[in-house]
């Protein structure tokens, strides 16, 4: 993977199945050409802040939107969100939580940390596909980055 190529959507998702379903939905709706999927929070932070395996990546080169799962091994989604918002360069990066959790405390905590949107993955695949396509459409095509 070219280290400084433009990324439109960064998908951080530990479940391969969910990731596959999400990518399939995004590809199907033709909203994004460049999708990067990472498997956990640690990897995500390295990618965003140009550390570890991604040390040659520029911090200035950020995706149009980050789709972030909450429950992940090592570093979870809320921590990733916290780091993103704590750093000036990434503080305005659009982050959408895409999770199975309907827990109120997760929702509240996420908004407290400054998430742009919180989407609960629908169990029903049709609705899931629809939801992911709409997210992609909105953030990649409609939303104006700061």
């Amino acid at each position: 993977m070219s280290e400084n190529k433009t990324v439109e959507i960064l998908l951080i998702e530990d479940s391969d199945q969910d990731a596959e379903l999400a990518i399939r939905a995004l590809e199907k709706s033709n909203v994004a050409n460049e999708i990067v999927r990472l498997k956990n929070g640690e990897e995500a932070l390295d990618f965003i802040f140009g550390k570890g395996d991604y040390e040659h990546r520029s911090v200035m080169n950020q995706p149009k939107v980050v789709l972030l799962d909450l429950k992940m091994p090592k570093v979870d989604g809320l921590e990733v969100l916290k780091e993103i918002r704590a750093n000036e360069a990434t503080s305005k990066l659009p982050v959408v939580i895409l999770t199975s959790s309907k827990e109120e405390r997760d929702v509240i905590k996420s908004y407290e940390l400054g998430v742009n949107s919180y989407i609960v993955k629908p169990v029903d695949f049709k609705r899931f596909t629809q939801a992911v396509s709409e997210i992609g459409l909105y953030w990649v095509l409609l939303n104006q980055k700061p």
Partner: protein, 652 residues
């Protein structure tokens, strides 16, 4: 020869001589001068003894009466001689004359002898001068005696006055004196003793009478005292009851002493007093004192009274007990001698001083460090007491030993602390358990959902991507996989919301149930049901939870009526006492009241999945929410005729 008096007389008068006148030659001058001289002398000599006899007779106590008689005889004999001398002038009776002269001589000589013998005695007879001196002395003595006499009389008068006064005093003081003659066993009583016995004065009384005046129970005492007085020389002082002549009972005091004369016991004497009034007054006072003492001693509080020198006057038994001074003699002793530790407690000394100056004080809880090192907790009140208005006699101290109370309190506090610790520990454990549960449900909500989505998603993809390859049976099977996945998702959601209810705190507000029902009905209305909504009461409750209740019940009503031609759902509310009862009635399939118990259990269903879809959690959630609101839920039904679900909510 026999003596003859006549013959002797004849011889005396017989004369042969010439008359003596012859010698005078009858010369008248010589003759008459001698005769007259003799005559006058003789007359005088006869008169003198007469006067002497007269004198002697008049002077009764005259001494030397014999001498006077001798003089009288001597002078008479001289007179007789002079008379015979005159006779001899004319008649010569010289023998007689001689005889008479011898008689005269004898008498004269006798007188001389008598005089001589009496002379020394006569010399002691004072002269008038001496007598005068003696007389003067005598007069002085007499005067002195007279003044002494007067003084004596005055003294006697005074004595009489004193005796009278004494009698009066005796009468007023009702004290009398008595005496008993031991030989005669007879009593001598003073007036007052008679009066006390109510016996007429002067009535003779013997010892037995006297003793019988005492009341029967006192007689042995007095008898014994009297006997001891006689036999053992002992005095007595007894207080007894006397029964007077008028049968009146009187308290008396009898004092007696033995009385000796010349070392021999002769009498008993003493005092007798009527002490009835004093005795009754004293008895009353003593009774009052005893009552007060008893009252104080038996008081169930620790109370003590001290004088202005802090010396104990009285104290209750509890006072002794509370301060561990039982058996100690404290009355009359200083508070600070009984509790020397207080001498070092400046604050208390100050409080006592203030109380003695009229300023009472009290305290709910005070620490008393005892001399033996122990600590006593007391609550106390100190007030002054007044001898006369304005004159403080001392202070009264009330105290209550609250040591046990304080200890209990401390124990309780310790226990509370332990309990609090335990509660905290339990709460922590509970919180941990809750956290674990939350983590569990979080996992369930997240992790169970993800594979479910995969099942659904990939089944979808399979159906989509392999549409051409799959026959109808294959498509039907994929459909089963998909609907099962959806159902499982629903089940997970229901379980999660049910478990979430348990830990969610109610957020109560005023809830307009009309709005809630209207909103729910709008959401559920598919045009298949007719809703009949009456005007409903408002309640206090958690809006979102109550909405869930209404949603579940109304959707049930609609669901179980779906097989009817026209389902009618009737909603009403009534107030009963302090609760509002809501009812949701449908005309649906109903249920067997036999299974009423299972209606509100989790995963309990009365209908098959085929008949009516459902997870069996909805009514369990409803029951849980209503119970959390302190309400109740129940249902009535008849198969084929519909069901009515009721739930009640408290007004406040």
């Amino acid at each position: 020869m026999q003596f003859s008096f006549i013959e002797w007389l004849n011889q005396l008068t017989d004369s042969e001589f010439m008359p003596h006148g012859m010698c005078y030659l009858w010369q008248p001058a010589t003759l008459w001068s001698n005769v007259l001289g003799d005559g006058v002398t003789a007359l005088s000599y006869f008169l003198i003894p007469g006067l002497l006899v007269y004198f002697v007779q008049k002077k009764e106590n005259l001494e030397f009466k014999g001498v006077f008689w001798a003089f009288a005889a001597f002078i008479i004999s001289c007179g007789v001689v002079h008379v015979i001398g005159m006779v001899n002038v004319w008649i010569p009776l010289y023998n007689l004359s001689g005889f008479l002269k011898i008689v005269m001589a004898t008498v004269s000589l006798g007188t001389v002898i008598l005089l001589y013998l009496k002379l020394p005695e006569a010399l002691t007879i004072p002269t008038p001068g001496e007598i005068e001196i003696v007389n003067q002395q005598l007069r002085g003595e007499i005067a002195q005696k007279e003044s002494l006499q007067k003084e004596l009389e005055k003294k006697a008068e005074e004595l009489q006055n004193t005796i009278d006064a004494l009698k009066e005093v005796q009468s007023i003081a009702k004290i009398g004196t008595w005496e008993v003659d031991i030989e005669e066993m007879q009593c001598t009583w003073s007036d007052e003793v008679y009066r006390i016995h109510e016996v007429p004065q002067g009535t003779p009384i013997n010892v037995e009478d006297g003793i019988n005046f005492y009341r029967e129970d006192y007689r042995p005492i007095i008898e014994k005292a009297v006997n001891k007085g006689i036999s053992e020389d002992a005095s007595w002082d007894e207080v007894c009851v006397l029964v007077t002549q008028n049968k009146r009972e009187v308290w008396v005091r009898a004092i007696g002493h033995p009385k000796y004369e010349n070392g021999e016991l002769k009498k008993l004497h003493g005092l007798f007093m009527d002490i009835n009034d004093q005795k009754i007054a004293t008895d009353k006072l003593e009774l009052r004192e005893r009552q007060l003492q008893l009252f104080v001693q038996q008081a169930p509080v620790a109370v003590a009274m001290v004088d202005h020198e802090m010396k104990y006057i009285t104290a209750s038994n509890k006072w002794y007990k509370d301060y561990g001074i039982e058996g100690k003699k404290i009355i009359g002793r200083s508070h600070y001698d009984i509790f020397p530790e207080i001498r070092k407690m400046k604050e208390w000394l100050e409080i006592h001083k203030n109380a003695l100056n009229g300023e009472g004080m009290s305290r709910e809880k005070d620490r008393f460090a005892r001399a033996d090192g122990s600590i006593q907790w007391i609550s106390w009140k100190i007030i002054p007491w007044y001898m006369n208005p304005g004159e403080i006699g001392g202070i009264i101290m009330y105290t209550s030993d609250i040591t046990n109370q304080i200890q209990y309190q401390e124990k309780l506090e310790n226990l509370n602390e332990v309990l609090e610790d335990q509660v905290q520990k339990r709460t922590e454990e509970l919180n941990n358990a809750n956290k674990e549960l939350e983590a569990f449900s979080y996992s369930v909500s997240h992790d169970l959902r993800a594979p479910l989505r995969s099942i659904n998603g990939f089944a979808d993809i399979l159906e989509e991507d392999y549409k051409e390859v799959l026959d109808d049976e294959g498509k039907r099977l994929i459909g089963i996989i998909k609907s099962s996945g959806v159902k499982m998702g629903q089940l997970i959601d229901d379980i999660l919301s049910f478990s979430r209810l348990g830990r969610k705190a109610l957020q109560k507000t005023d809830v307009d149930m009309n709005l809630v029902f209207n909103e729910v009905m709008r959401e559920l209305d598919k045009g298949e049901s007719e809703f009949k909504l009456a005007k409903l009461h408002s309640v206090k409750g958690d809006l979102s939870l109550l909405k869930q209740v209404v949603t579940n019940l109304v959707s049930n009503a609609v669901k179980y009526s779906s097989q009817e031609n026209k389902s009618v759902v009737k909603i009403e509310s009534t107030q009963k006492d302090n609760t509002i009862i809501f009812s949701i009635q449908d005309n649906g399939t109903g249920f067997d009241m036999k299974y009423h118990d299972k209606l509100f259990g989790v995963f309990q269903r009365l209908h098959s999945e085929k008949e009516f879809e459902g997870t069996g959690v909805g009514l369990a959630i409803v029951k849980r929410i209503i119970t959390k609101h302190d309400g109740e839920i129940w249902a009535e039904s008849e198969i084929g005729k519909g069901s009515t679900f009721y739930f009640s909510l408290p007004l406040t």
